[in-house]
Symmetry: C2
């Protein structure tokens, strides 16, 4: 029984071909994205895709998990406002272009596909958790009171990006990101997320 995979083996090759093909097709619109098309573009039979990934969402989940494993440098400049602004600009970069398409595709199939829902929720739960460090650092510096609700604040700074991505179809530019950050910073300093 094979214990390890050969990096250049057929299985590995098929897997890579499918993911690459999916990435390529995603670039020109998720509307046309389908298992059969991906298989065709990868030069692979569709049954191979179905057996290995079960779903189109399974393939997309694998793509997303590649992003999830990328290390994001959480800003820590010593000032809350600056940190939140840099955070917002990071989020912006992570939600435009290819990852944006990916998130849209998964989020919009979430209601009909429990696995897709779990993938998206898990991805952002982790991302949000990491981002809370920015608020926690400000607490540690004494810039914010102990017990400030970091989770709620991160939700507020992140939300506008999802609105633009999933509902309103307007560009997510740097000014937009900066405004979301400034609004959250103001709310934090005004005590909106203080413990009651």
């Amino acid at each position: 029984m094979p214990v390890s995979q050969r990096p250049g083996g057929r299985s590995t090759r098929v897997r890579a071909a499918v993911l690459t093909a999916a990435r390529g097709l995603l670039a020109d619109g998720y509307a046309e994205l389908t298992v059969e098309r991906i298989a065709q573009a990868a030069g692979v039979n569709k049954t191979s895709v179905y057996r290995r990934w079960t779903d189109l969402e399974g393939v997309l989940g694998d793509l997303l998990s590649e992003y999830a494993s990328e290390v994001v440098p959480i800003p820590d400049t010593g000032d809350l406002g600056t940190d939140l602004e840099e955070l917002a600009l990071l989020v912006r970069r992570g939600m435009t272009g290819e990852p944006g398409e990916l998130i849209t595709a998964l989020a919009t199939s979430a209601p009909r596909n429990p696995r897709a829902a779990q993938i998206v929720r898990g991805f952002f739960a982790e991302r949000f958790r990491l981002a809370e460090a920015v608020v926690d650092h400000a607490i540690a510096r004494g810039e914010l009171p102990q017990g400030t609700d970091a989770g709620a604040a991160i939700e507020i700074i992140g939300a506008p990006f999802f609105l633009r991505l999933l509902v309103v179809n307007e560009p997510i530019d740097e000014e937009f990101a900066r405004r979301a950050a400034a609004a959250t910073t103001a709310a934090l300093h005004a005590g909106v997320f203080d413990p009651r």
Copy 2:
């Protein structure tokens, strides 16, 4: 050629039956929502639905337009913070329960269905436009400077609801709505949406 419709005529009856059936099915999960099921529940042939509405999204669009025609009482208490809080509570009521399911169903099919995208965008463009009055009143009172970006502020107060509805699947309670309002109020007073 018939110029007017009889209120009790068959066409009217079919239309009402389909919309009622759709509403009922929507209550127990959009995942199971399909044209054929709606037609069956309405005691109508599916071709009638397809010919009249083209799409499942067309039916949902008609349901949404009923909500769109409901008059929403834009709060005007004389205080920005209070107005925004009441606005957020209104939004909350409008995005939980049945209308929430409806919005979710339409928003998630938007990427694959241009008409659905247009319906959702149009609906919220109108809603957001109406809500801007709250900010405009504050400007008129001198509570905010001339040229304050009302549209951007309304976007910020509304965004968190979409995040919870479409991505994170957590309850949208009153405290959540109040916090979104408080954050926006703080940002407005801090000058985040002032003209540059």
